[in-house]
Symmetry: C2
Subunit: 437 residues, 2 copies
């Protein structure tokens, strides 16, 4: 993409309303624009990141055997009355009356809808287990929306729902999502730690929040330093294997939020305990028959008996992750995108737009990168080098390739790694080889 034909409204000033670094950087990098309190338009650069994150979430859900569908944003109030949540939910639910005065709502979550869909079609234990997910916009009418997309009102969420015949099946479904979540966040360059969460009325050990570590995170967390070394992607079992050992290992290493951590009773020696800050980006939860019972979601068992389905739900805050990754990965100059979620892999900087040699080399490199399938943003504006460097650091693409008249005279271009700051002078061919490898 050529910057002169793009829509990337970066800001020089830090907007006053932004209290946290991700919100400031997303506004300055032209990623989002607030259209109403807690409601954002995703500008082109931000939307590219959102879609990359969404795609990683999707691939890992698919790999774990979950099946994608899409539920609507607007739901009928009727199902929520059946589950008993319509009155409970309070003012965070955006309630709507349509032209026929029917009571509707903008879904804050979808347990009722998916349970109703599932029970309408699935009648036999033979069609179990299943895990259905969707990635859809939700709405929670927060009384005081803030922190940008970190706590917005309209937000993108992946929500999966598992259906099993019994607790044993539900446990396997839970463990698969547990593993999928660790893989998902690791692919985004995040260190995510599952922490035991409130398990609700049915008890048990199957409720975890996934908290990613970020210096500027919203809450304090404590964990065994072993968490900081774990290589999830390298050691993950396949989904066909028994996941008990993996689950047992990863739930036994100590990790707790501030509310649950008690220094006096903590089993980890002080020198092995890390104190850090974190951001919740996911929550998995086994809730048994909480919704299947009131909604009548039953199947016929092997002997024809009626069995109420065991369910769990599994959420990931997709739009929240955009901000969370920035909280975990930035410096004073701007965002530092992990390559897997970067809006473009390469930023191509022409130091002297209008100079015949610079223009020609830039055009060649731009074409070569596109041909090789490398996503590249070409800063072809007629701007001073300082402005171009600052903008490129701000938007945080992983690799900056700079072409200037001086370098060209000695036959080199400059390749900078945004994360490390390392700069290499390379021939044009060597730089291309590195970026297309």
């Amino acid at each position: 993409m050529r910057l002169t034909r793009y829509f990337l409204p970066t800001l020089k000033e830090t907007p006053n309303e932004a209290q946290i670094v991700s919100h400031r950087l997303m506004l300055r990098a032209g990623m989002v624009r607030q259209t109403s309190a807690g409601i954002y338009a995703w500008l082109p650069l931000g939307y590219r990141v959102l879609r990359k994150i969404e795609q990683i979430v999707r691939e890992e859900q698919d790999a774990a055997g979950a099946i994608e569908l899409l539920m609507p944003t607007i739901q009928s109030a009727d199902l929520w009355r059946q589950s008993g949540r319509y009155e409970d939910y309070g003012k965070e639910m955006l309630r709507i009356k349509d032209r026929h005065e029917r009571e509707m709502l903008f879904g804050p979550t979808a347990e009722e809808v998916i349970t109703d869909i599932f029970k309408s079609y699935v009648k036999s234990y033979r069609e179990l287990p299943r895990n259905l997910y969707n990635i859809q916009w939700k709405f929670r009418d927060e009384i005081r929306p803030r922190f940008g997309v970190m706590r917005g009102r309209e937000f993108l969420m992946k929500d999966a729902y598992s259906f099993d015949l019994d607790y044993k099946g539900a446990r396997i479904a839970y463990q698969k999502m547990f593993l999928a979540y660790l893989k998902t966040f690791a692919r985004m360059g995040l260190r995510a730690i599952p922490m035991k969460a409130e398990s609700g009325p049915i008890g048990g050990d199957m409720s975890h929040e996934f908290i990613i570590l970020a210096e500027t995170g919203e809450s304090a967390v404590f964990c065994d330093k072993a968490w900081l070394e774990l290589d999830v992607l390298g050691n993950a079992p396949s989904y066909q294997e028994d996941l008990d050992p993996f689950f047992a290992k990863h739930t036994s290493i100590y990790a707790a939020t501030e509310e649950k951590h008690d220094a006096a009773s903590c089993p980890v020696p002080a020198d092995q305990l890390a104190s850090a800050r974190g951001i919740e980006v996911g929550h998995i939860f086994h809730f048994g028959t909480k919704y299947s019972k009131p909604l009548g979601a039953v199947v016929a068992g092997p002997n024809g008996e009626s069995i109420t389905l065991e369910m769990g739900s599994y959420g990931i805050g997709v739009s929240r992750l955009v901000a969370a990754i920035i909280e975990a990965s930035h410096d004073d100059n701007g965002i530092i995108w992990p390559e897997s979620v970067a809006p473009y892999k390469v930023g191509l900087i022409n130091l002297k737009q209008g100079d015949a040699a610079c223009d020609r080399v830039c055009e060649d490199i731009y074409d070569d990168l596109l041909t090789a399938g490398v996503e590249v943003l070409y800063d072809d504006r007629n701007e001073r080098p300082g402005v171009k460097f600052a903008d490129m650091d701000l938007i945080g693409l992983p690799w900056h390739l700079t072409i200037g008249p001086r370098g060209l005279k000695s036959g080199v271009v400059e390749l900078k790694n945004r994360a490390t700051g390392e700069k290499l002078e390379l021939s044009q061919d060597a730089a291309l080889a590195k970026l297309t490898a």
Copy 2:
């Protein structure tokens, strides 16, 4: 995907509520489920088609130079008051009050929001032209929603908005979308014809509906038979060229909706005139300063003067297209998907699940197809051949590969083309070669 692990609830009976063939087939093929009047959940098979269509639309918008972003579903009423449409829109607009009693709405379209975003950032003629689009769920509170997703209340739409300095620029933007639309629909196997539509208060020739031909279409249309022969993909100019000749040619061949057609004054001789039925799937519209003026969207021109932006909007009914394609492509047995939008390319049918030879060959072929990147749905259910054939015809995948014990004895498998009905007996290798070519 293995059918025994999928979620594909096909129905044997035709549901009573469905009045048109696409609605009947989408319900029977397990593609959608109504969750409230005119509001649908997209089940896995339907969602795959929706995403394929969305992706073709996206690629053609990108190719035409439009830039993708995402606007929220919930908008503030304020902007609509500024444009004067808040009261005008009537009961089709879903109006909402949030917890602070602020007036909001579920966007039925987004001229106001995009104009407000654009004017906030773009201040100079140098940053023109631009065309920004998004693919987002919209809501229109139809008094009597019907025909499934053809006229639902919550629907997915691509809406693009062009911003230009003057009429000449706006005309180029319009012609680019005109071409992009023809290419988009052609890629989906549809014959789409642009027909002059009401141009609104500013007049001119820049308002077209795109109508695709389908025997069971909602309205009667008349066109020069030349339209039935045109090869849009083969003859399309590039976006860098002058599009005037292409636009002139394609707007001069006669085509009119029933309302606009007048047999007496029709310039086409009777033997050259085709009468057909059609479905509107897109609308492009130049509206000049209708929104930029009340919303104050101006830029500084070359001499510093303030210039009100020229705008156009360009819509495609993405969810409606799923139904429209079915109306245009089906037979008595079910849907016939064009390969470009098919949920899977190949349906693999095991005629005798449990038979060692059949199972082994099916597993091999399944693996080989996946390895080759071919999307395949494997019917590995323990069902009678008749059930499997009927379901495969119903869901309409382009190629059916059938493995049975008799064929295997003679070393052949059967490959059927869903569209033509042609069946070939081939060796396993030859069938694979054909499907992976």
